[in-house]
């Protein structure tokens, strides 16, 4: 008999000291799922396959606004192998999805004839084979009644974003008027598309009112709730699995249309349905980083001390769904400045649904601010590293509470040292390498810290092995591995004695793998689960006359390899004996965190901080820009596994290079169509675009939770693009106030050439 003993979730101090002398946390362990990945054996949703499965292909709208007047599917239906064509007329009626953190899901697809963006699903074709489904989808003809579409940022009235309140402290206007130095600029950032390399898709299998969904998601727990709510079936019967995901970077955080369509099509046809998106559909169906237009006014005293920051952002959204925003949110927390005003406004346009993309909002807002600081430093003839150091704060400037940890000063100082910043000639166009212009740029970065509701179950078995279960997806950050390391320390085991399984809603519910919150949330919940386990052991031995541990309080017990002992003792009571006497096959406990402040309001929860130093070289004649080296120093609190954490920073840096130099969706101004929706047309960094990247971690374990973790996924990207932009100015003397920076921006003018 397996018994789950689940203690009530009570907030109490947690164990902080690992049982072994040399903790597994902090070591460079290679990934436990690595052998599967390098052999091509890791199962992604695209690899799921069940007998009798139908293949689905989407037909999407070719107008941005209007309605569908007719879907002519006779030709498609006549093709061999085609089983059905579903449109709004015959797709099941669904309830709206549940509210989620920071917004609502898109309205359920195929519910009426309305069209709100180019690329909206209008039909799903179901056929026996992939080839038949895609051929038939091409033959479905759709008639529309088209209406004028709002596509440009100026076409819509700005409206507030409910979860991004305006902020204001001090008197920004008065400080601005009396400042020694002022910078005012408009900054634009382009639409970027996450484009994880794994095409997203879902395989849905119904059995009565139960449905099993193999999905590409960063948040199985959320998708489960979305499917249950929309289809009106019990949560208990909805299973969502995503044990491996071919990247996401925020594209997998919503119950997107494609998975609802797969589940609905399987419901209608009574057969399993697999719907995989095509690469062009990855540009239209699973969100993106929306376009922004920001205005920024920054002022300082003669010594470089900031006196005011006013930061306002317009963010492109869809008619049916507001964008995430959060563009100016970090500005109020960034630097010690007494007068700060921020606001985000959304624009409802006939464009595709946006979502999160690595460092969502923070990257865009930070880019504008860090470019403005560079301009300010130039105006005041202060070194840009020094300008930032003069404005750092050991307290959260918004709340006045001390940061739970910050090593931003060390990030800047160590980064400058590793880069060799002291050799920089501050004059633009002053540094050369042969005919090439050389530019050095710097930017600082921060990303907020938080935890989200998450539960973890720990089970110990008589043979001394242990299992850890949690529904989160390891998106490629290494969650499987770090969970094993943490559990090994807490249970006194080696990681290979801990079986970690994740990515399945049959396991305890979890936060998303996104927003840099998963490692900290799972780690903290795991700490609590092990505490509960110790409580449960104390309860068991209290009534066990044969136990040498009888009467011990939970905090007098220590979990070690093979069993339990009194702290300081060498006599181990073996799990096999302990469980056998209680008639148990195993012993389980669950730990939960709900994201609430456990510090008693004594400190501000810090996230990660960082500094980036970049060298670019530019051929002034043809405008070719290369990033030659990057130094990235980061304070991420306790680093659970430096090998894997470094990979996160590398990935963030590469993402930042993409945002700085390449990634730019072209939306056709007349039709709203994505004009460059392939990986041949939408440029992303390749091997040849990425130089050596020097990654260092600094700082101490964060004080806010016993885990000391601050998250490492987003911060690596933030600050990279403005550091590149500032390096471009240093190389060329040009201030480029938009992202990405294109080759055309760097082409030399006759005057430049005369000056060269």
């Amino acid at each position: 008999m397996t018994t789950y003993v689940t203690a009530p979730a009570v907030d109490r101090p947690t164990a902080t000291e690992p049982a072994t002398a040399t903790p597994w946390v902090g070591r460079d362990l290679t990934r436990v799922d690595g052998p599967h990945k390098i052999a091509g054996r890791a199962p992604y949703s695209s690899d799921a396959d069940v007998p009798g499965m139908l293949h689905a292909a989407l037909v999407t709208s070719t107008i941005a606004h209007g309605r569908v007047t007719d879907v002519r599917a006779a030709e498609a239906l006549a093709l061999a192998g085609v089983v059905d064509v579903l449109t709004w007329r015959n797709f099941p009626r669904l309830a709206p999805g549940p509210e989620v953190p920071l917004g609502w899901p898109p309205p359920p697809p195929l519910q009426d004839d309305g069209i709100g963006f180019h690329g909206q699903p209008v039909a799903v074709v179901l056929a026996e084979t992939l080839e038949q489904a895609h051929e038939a989808a091409r033959r479905v003809e759709v008639d529309y009644e088209e209406q004028p579409a709002r596509l440009a940022l100026d076409d819509a009235e700005p409206e507030p974003i409910p979860w991004v309140p305006d902020s204001s402290r001090g008197d920004t206007g008065a400080a601005w008027r009396s400042a020694a130095a002022r910078v005012e600029l408009e900054y634009r950032t382009a639409e970027n598309v996450n484009n994880p390399l794994g095409l997203m898709g879902a395989l849905a299998v119904w059995d009565g009112d139960r449905v099993d969904v193999h999905d590409s998601t960063q948040w199985p727990t959320l998708v489960r709730r979305g499917i249950a709510t929309m289809f009106g079936v019990p949560l208990a019967g909805v299973r969502v699995r995503s044990p491996f995901l071919g990247g996401g970077f925020g594209a997998g955080l919503i119950t997107w249309d494609y998975k609802v369509l797969a589940v609905g099509a399987a419901r209608v046809t009574g057969r399993p349905v697999k719907l995989m998106l095509t690469r062009p559909q990855m540009f239209t169906q699973v969100g993106h980083r929306p376009e922004t237009r920001q205005t920024l006014r920054v002022s300082a005293a003669a010594d470089g001390t900031l006196t005011s920051v006013e930061h306002r952002a317009l963010v492109a959204g869809a008619v049916e769904r507001l964008p995430l925003g959060l563009v100016t949110a970090a500005t109020a927390h960034g630097y010690a400045c007494p007068n700060v005003t921020t606001s985000d406004r959304a624009l409802r346009l006939h464009r595709r649904y946006s979502s999160a993309m690595r460092g969502p909002g923070e990257h865009e807002g930070n880019a504008a601010l860090e470019v403005a600081l560079d301009e300010l430093a130039e105006q005041l003839a202060i070194d840009p590293v020094e300008l930032r150091l003069r404005n750092l704060s050991t307290v959260d400037p918004a709340s006045g509470l001390p940061w739970s940890s910050t090593a931003l000063a060390e990030c800047l100082r160590l980064g400058a040292e590793r880069f060799g910043w002291g050799d920089r000639d501050p004059r633009p166009r002053s540094m050369r390498d042969g005919d090439l212009l050389v530019g050095w740029g710097v930017a600082a970065a921060a990303y907020g810290g938080y935890e989200l509701p998450t539960s973890v179950r720990v089970t110990v078995y008589p043979d001394g092995s242990a299992a850890v279960r949690n529904a989160a997806t390891d998106i490629g950050t290494g969650t499987y591995t770090i969970v094993g390391q943490i559990a090994a320390d807490l249970l006194g085991l080696a990681p290979d004695q801990v079986d970690v399984d994740m990515g399945d809603t049959e396991m305890p519910p979890s936060a998303q793998s996104g927003g840099s919150a998963l490692a900290g949330s799972v780690a903290h919940a795991l700490h609590r689960a092990v505490d509960r386990l110790r409580d449960t052991v104390a309860e068991l031995v209290a009534t066990d006359a044969d136990s040498a541990l009888g009467g011990a309080a939970a905090d007098e017990l220590e979990l070690v390899a093979g069993g339990v002992r009194m702290v300081g003792s060498t006599d181990i009571e073996r799990w096999s004996d302990l469980l056998a006497r209680s008639g148990l096959e195993s012993l389980s406990s669950e730990g939960t965190v709900d994201g609430s402040d456990t510090s008693g309001g004594t400190m501000a929860r810090a996230g990660a901080f960082g500094a980036r130093f970049v060298e670019v070289v530019i051929d002034p004649v043809i405008g070719r820009l290369r990033v030659r080296r990057v130094v990235s120093v980061n304070d991420c609190g306790r680093v659970l596994n430096p090998l894997l954490a470094r990979s996160q920073i590398l990935g963030g840096t590469v993402g930042g290079i993409g945002a700085a130099l390449f990634e730019d969706v072209t939306v056709d101004p007349d039709t709203g169509r994505v004009a460059n929706g392939t990986l041949a047309d939408y440029l992303v960094p390749t091997h040849a675009d990425v130089p050596d990247i020097d990654v260092t971690f600094v700082g101490d374990p964060d004080r806010f939770t016993p885990t000391g973790v601050k998250g490492v996924g987003e911060v690596g990207l933030i600050g990279v693009a403005p550091a590149i932009a500032n390096a471009v100015h240093h190389a060329t003397g040009r201030r480029i106030r938009h992202l990405p920076i294109h080759l055309e921006d760097l082409l030399s003018t006759p005057r430049d050439r005369g000056a060269t």
Binding site: T30, I38, G40, G247, L644, S647, L679, V690
Partner: protein, 174 residues
């Protein structure tokens, strides 16, 4: 919506394809529209080769065709009749392939793992082509393999290590 000249009815008589996949002969009867990538994944159950774009732009489907790097999504299965295909599942049979896989593991040269089979198969081709002479060459000739997680520096380090190592013989390892 523009109409194109298409055969009526969409009936496609199957074609038979005989090829050698990872040193094993296979015979398939396929819809002639089937790409080599879909033949491997949907018909042979070799799902290690990944579909990242189906448009020849990402490199995730890289296989070796008669020893040369090739994009399986741009190759019709029917074109491969009588030819030799090596996929990620065949890499362990190659001594250099084993070294590469091990180097990828130790250098953490992957994150989500989706592009990884293509990177490894492509790197094996790159080494055979002798194009790992410098880091710049290596990066240039691996640029057909996108990695959206940004593991590039670690991928380069892993390939560099194998390129610098003595050439293994077939007797090494398993």
């Amino acid at each position: 919506m523009p109409t194109h000249d298409r055969p009526a009815g969409g009936e496609c008589p199957p074609v038979t394809v005989s090829m050698e996949v990872n040193e094993r002969p296979v015979d398939l009867s396929l819809d002639p529209r089937t790409s080599l990538l879909d033949a491997l994944r949907e018909h042979l159950g070799l799902t290690g080769t990944k579909k990242g774009c189906d448009q020849g732009a990402c490199g995730a489907c890289t296989v070796h065709l008669d020893g040369d790097r090739m994009l399986a999504c741009l190759t019709l299965a029917a074109q491969v009749d009588g030819r030799r295909v090596t996929t990620i599942e065949g890499v362990p049979a190659d001594p250099t392939g084993r070294l590469l896989a091990d180097a990828f593991l130790r250098h953490d040269a992957y994150q989500c793992g989706f592009c990884t089979p293509g990177q490894i198969v492509s790197a094996l081709g790159l080494l055979a082509e002798g194009r790992a002479g410098s880091d710049a060459d290596l990066r240039e000739f691996m640029s057909g393999n996108l990695c959206r997680c940004g593991a590039y520096p670690n991928i380069v380090a892993a390939i560099r290590e194998v390129a610098s190592a003595p050439v293994p013989s077939d007797e090494d390892g398993a």
